[in-house]
């Protein structure tokens, strides 16, 4: 670990001001990812701005039926929040699919959005990695890439975003509230994370100096027909090979509206409007789900070790949609796939 300054922000204005004074600073909340990366010399902030005292710890109803989640709400508190459990159970489920109880107790909502990829090469400073060191090359292409992207990758980077929470938020069409020197703005979830393109070092579309203050969920929570299905190389405490957050609105056996987002397969939680359009107005059956999955994966490409994820993703989409349609969401405690 390399020496750094420590500062504590008292409120959002203070945090933004501190950040504006040092472009190499980083905010820290739970520290469950940043501190690890600092120990590995991957992140080398000149200053760490502790935002844990900011008043961003509430989950509040907003007029019109949505929910506003403060950026400092811990993953555990969010997962067991009564409003979330009742109205957005897919989010609660996704949160509980991630990490361990101890990590969820520390990890914050805002930090979860900003967690960095788990690509082996990103973590090992002895290897080339365009995300860590732009221009050095991508070792995962032609290297160990079992965990890597099958959609939206570039020649510069095939890393994936590791979050579970974000997959559910993407499916729910959340809005990310941020504040910077030039004021507040809202970023639709689909536009928050970036694809790697030629600038894989940038994970998100946050502008320099901006801080996440909240995530807002729209009224629609798919609380009746939903699931979060996470498939990984052991039954807990592993990042997703493929995960699916799915929500359906049904009228009889017909899909009125269907959303699904995938984790573990791209540089951001992946949604596909065309695939979802293929659900709309169709019977909630295997044929419909298969068509949607095929559309979703039409451009999928695998590498040496992860080509299996294309077929796995197809199976997971179909299973998740049938779990959602049947009203039998995946349990995160029993590991039996329902």
């Amino acid at each position: 670990m390399i020496g750094f300054q420590y500062a504590r922000a008292g409120d959002v204005t203070d945090a933004v001001r501190l950040m504006a004074g040092d472009p190499r600073a980083k905010f820290v909340a739970g520290g469950t990812n940043l501190i690890d990366l600092m120990k590995m010399d991957v992140e080398r902030p000149s200053m760490v701005i502790d935002i844990n005292r900011l008043p961003l710890k509430e989950v509040e109803e907003v007029p019109g039926g949505g929910l506003r989640i403060g950026a400092l709400v811990r993953n555990t508190d969010l997962a067991y929040n009564a409003l979330v459990e009742e109205r957005y159970p897919v989010l609660a489920s996704a949160l509980l699919a991630g990490a361990t109880q101890q990590l969820r107790n520390m990890a914050s909502t805002g930090g979860n959005l900003l967690q960095r990829t788990r690509c082996h090469y990103f973590y090992d400073t002895a290897t080339p990695c365009n995300k860590r060191e732009p221009g050095s090359g991508c070792s995962a292409i032609g290297g160990q890439n079992r965990m890597h992207a099958i959609l939206g990758a570039s020649d510069a980077c095939i890393a994936v975003h590791p979050s579970d929470m974000c997959v559910a938020m993407a499916m729910l069409e959340a809005m990310v509230r941020v504040t910077g020197a030039s004021g507040e703005r809202a970023i639709p979830f689909a536009e928050f994370h970036r694809l790697p393109g030629e600038t894989p070092e940038r994970d998100t579309n946050l502008s320099a100096g901006e801080i996440i203050t909240a995530v807002e969920l729209p009224p629609r929570g798919f609380a009746t027909n939903y699931t979060y299905l996470k498939i990984r190389d052991r039954l807990s405490y592993a990042f997703a090979l493929v995960s699916v957050a799915a929500g359906l609105e049904l009228e009889g056996g017909t899909i009125k509206e269907g959303h699904f987002a995938l984790g573990g397969i791209a540089h951001k939680p992946w949604r596909d409007p065309q695939a979802e359009a293929a659900l709309r107005g169709q019977p909630a059956n295997a044929k419909t789900f298969a068509l949607a999955a095929d559309i979703f994966l039409r451009d999928a490409e695998g590498y040496e070790h992860n080509a299996f994820k294309i077929d796995l993703a197809r199976r997971c989409i179909m299973r998740a949609l049938s779990q959602a349609a049947a009203g039998t969401p995946q349990s995160q405690s029993s590991k039996k796939i329902v």
Partner: protein, 740 residues
């Protein structure tokens, strides 16, 4: 006083461990202790052309940066670097010269006043290399692999000779199965990081606290490497947080810490990081071909077992990978071929039951495939091939209750309810599979010396330089000593893990329980004899005419075994003799009789449930029935088997050291990405110890540290086949291997 041997006695060091009172190698502190941080190579092969430590040296708090260029003298010959269990070859010498032999090789040690400063400064050391092409992939080195040579040293294994006419037997076999099986490199990943604290004493002597499975091995090795006199170095390792074979050979943290302590004449601690521990040894990758030939009735007629295992470019590590096959089953014709593939990696090493879990993954998978070909129940096939003799050496077993393992294991598991057809059993959306496999390991005993000091107040100290690597050695030593000395358990204190104590081999090979328990028995006999002499001198001694083998120690008394009313208390005998303390030290050698084979056995039954579409595998039940001689402590023994089964689940489904062969570097060098089972992966595990009498040593102990892992991975793999109809011959069985 109830006997302690054979009971579920809780660990005598348990409270110290859970309260933090038990100190591990990197927890011993002295004023002025310095901290070393290791700089490691980032290439797999070549040489260092430039090593710039100037930036690191400028950091406040940095005392020195040691490299091959400025280190104090070290031995310049291989013999000096040979440890008690070194394989043939030229051992690695840390910081010796500019040569890079493997990635993550230690190349510099930054020594500073705090560990944080040392670690930061280590990140400032810049290195330039001249790279040479490397090979880290066993499949790339396979064709160049060379047959093993029987080692000249007593350590190591001589591959068994072929018997019969295996080629002809295979050719004429009514039913044949042939397959290739692969097990990747696996690392030990003990919870405790490797660390050494070297205390530079005022007289210049060194006290070394090291994480090791053999303090005397480390002590001898350090004397060799640094030309030190034995009395100048004391090595201690009172507690070890797991090692599993990785601490059998001295590791480089001890060398680097001693190097710095000698160079600076200061006390120094070196702790490796988790990634740096992937530069220690590993279970070698193994590519195996097995060919089995059987008669139509399911009796084996031919076994051919070929293996290629990985070692480094500079040492030849191997165990008896192929020989297990012809030992386990009755088969008139057998042949083995074992080759070594040299890779640009550290030397592979022993890891829990070295060679057997890998070899038996292949053999027991192949036997399952043969059972399928024969349309025979896999358990029935094992029974038809049951061997009453070690055919490799044409001798009987000292004991072999494997049949009873099969019977009790099958009954506990409910094996008779198995529908043999693949994909025939279901539980809702999950396919259910039942598989089984056999395990075999060695029951070894090694020479050992034990000292016992008994005081007139009825307390005893039992001392031996062995280690307790978490297995429960402290506890079984106390149990055995308490029973044999006739004293309560709490009156026994155990001293171990100190090179100045009486001689012990390294703690490995499952041999310490048998060695040290029988060693205690020998020394207790000497104590008893001395007590009897004293007791005879007591006025009107009721034991005046008793011979040593006619008395025992019980309840603080020396008692005539033929007439329990004739006794003298230990306190009286010692008081009358004017003796405050009796001390005896005896060496116990195992029997030299090699006319019988000595092995432990197991039968493992596993149930898996697999989601048919997605391939998620859950190991819902395991029954492990063990024939391991006398069980000294049913609680710690059971824990050994439970831990082994969990590891077997990991071997089957999770474990794999991922190497980027272009970079020649381990990429999942941490326990987040190197997967081992977590709680969710572990369900119901039942351990059965079947009765097995063995007279190879007086206590009938065979050792249980390793037998539990063997057979678990193939039992699970066979269950996966039974569930899905899909045979996976390369580990780990990840879900993608079940997809079409």
């Amino acid at each position: 006083m109830a006997p302690y041997i054979g009971t579920a006695t809780s660990r005598i060091d348990g409270i110290a461990k859970v309260t933090g009172a038990a100190k591990y190698a990197a927890e011993f502190n002295v004023p002025g202790l310095l901290h070393g941080s290791v700089v490691t190579s980032t290439i797999a092969k070549g040489r260092i052309t430039r090593l710039d430590t100037s930036a690191a040296m400028r950091v406040k708090g940095v005392i020195d940066v040691l490299t091959h260029e400025n280190r104090p003298p070290m031995a310049d010959n291989d013999q000096a670097y040979k440890d008690d269990v070194a394989p043939p070859g030229s051992p690695f010498r840390p910081l010796y010269d500019d040569k890079i032999k493997f990635n993550l090789q230690p190349i510099a040690l930054v020594v500073a006043e705090t560990s944080e400063v040392a670690r930061f400064a280590a990140s400032l050391v810049t290195v330039e290399y001249e790279e040479v092409a490397h090979v880290t992939d066993i499949f790339a080195a396979r064709d160049a692999a060379v047959p093993i040579k029987p080692p000249a040293s007593p350590v190591g294994f001589t591959p068994p000779k072929a018997r019969g006419q295996p080629n002809r037997a295979l050719a004429r076999a009514a039913v044949r199965h042939e397959g290739e099986y692969y097990v990747p490199i696996e690392h030990h990943n003990p919870m405790e990081l490797y660390g050494a604290t070297v205390i530079h004493e005022s007289d210049g002597k060194l006290t070394v606290y090291d994480k090791t499975q053999g303090v005397q091995n480390v002590q001898r090795y350090l004397c060799g490497v640094f030309g030190m006199k034995p009395e100048g170095v004391r090595v201690l390792s009172p507690f070890v947080g797991g090692a599993f074979g990785s601490g059998l050979r001295p590791q480089f943290e001890a060398v680097l810490a001693v190097l710095a302590a000698r160079a600076l004449e200061r006390s120094v601690r070196v702790v490796l990081t988790r990634p740096q521990m992937y530069a220690l040894g590993y279970r070698p990758a193994m590519v195996q071909r097995i060919a089995l030939g059987a008669d139509a009735d399911g009796t084996l007629d031919a076994i051919a077992h070929d293996a290629v295992t990985a070692t480094s470019q500079f040492e030849e590590y191997f165990r008896q990978e192929t020989g297990w096959s012809g030992l386990l089953y009755k088969c008139a014709n057998a042949k083995y071929e074992h080759k070594l593939a040299r890779l640009d990696l550290p030397t592979s090493c022993d890891m829990r039951a070295p060679s057997a879990p890998t070899a038996l993954f292949a053999l027991e998978s192949a036997m399952d495939e043969l059972a399928v070909a024969l349309e025979l129940d896999p358990l029935e096939l094992r029974l038809r091939c049951y061997s009453e003799r070690d055919q490799n050496h044409d001798r009987p077993f000292s004991s072999k209750a494997l049949r009873e393992c099969y019977r009790q294991g099958a009954e506990a598991f409910g094996w008779n309810k198995r529908n043999g057809a693949p994909r025939s059993m279901r539980d809702g959306s999950e396919l259910v599979g039942w598989g089984m496999a056999t395990g075999i390991w060695e029951a070894l005993q090694m020479p050992i010396t034990v000292r016992i000091a008994l005081t007139a107040n009825g307390s005893a100290e039992v001392a031996c330089a062995t280690s307790d690597i978490g297995t429960g050695t402290y506890t079984i030593m106390a149990q055995v000593a308490a029973d044999m000395l006739g004293l309560p358990l709490e009156n026994i204190s155990i001293k171990l893990g100190d090179s100045t104590l009486p001689n012990s081999p390294v703690e490995g090979g499952s041999w310490i329980a048998a060695s040290v328990s029988n060693g205690i028995a020998t020394t207790v006999a000497a104590v008893r004899n001395e007590l009897l002499e004293l007791a005879k001198k007591v006025p009107n001694s009721p034991l005046a005419n008793a011979a040593p083998d006619e008395v025992k120690l019980a309840d603080g008394m020396i008692v005539d075994e033929r007439d329990g009313s004739r006794s003298v208390s230990i306190a009286d005998a010692m008081r009358h003799g004017g003796v405050e303390r009796i001390e005896q030290e005896e060496t116990t050698n195992p029997t030299a009789d090699d006319s019988r084979a000595r092995n432990t056995h197991s039968a493992v039954f596993a149930e898996v449930k697999i989601d048919e579409e997605i391939g998620v595998i859950r190991v819902t039940r395991v029954v492990s029935a063990i024939a391991g001689g006398r069980v000294l402590n049913t609680k710690t023994a059971s824990s050994q088997i439970l831990g082994s089964v969990v590891w077997g689940i990991g071997m089957a489904l999770h474990e794999e050291t991922l190497i980027d062969h272009k970079l020649g570097r381990v990429m999942n060098a941490n326990i987040a990405e190197y997967h081992v089972p977590v709680n969710a992966d572990v369900h119901d595990i039942k351990v059965i110890f079947v009765h097995e009498h063995d007279d190879s040593n007086p206590l009938g102990v065979k050792g249980l540290g390793e037998i539990g892992i063997i057979g678990v991975a193939p039992a699970i793999a066979n269950a996966v086949y039974h569930a899905t109809g899909k045979r996976v011959r390369d580990l780990p069985i990840t879900l993608d291997k079940l997809h079409p």
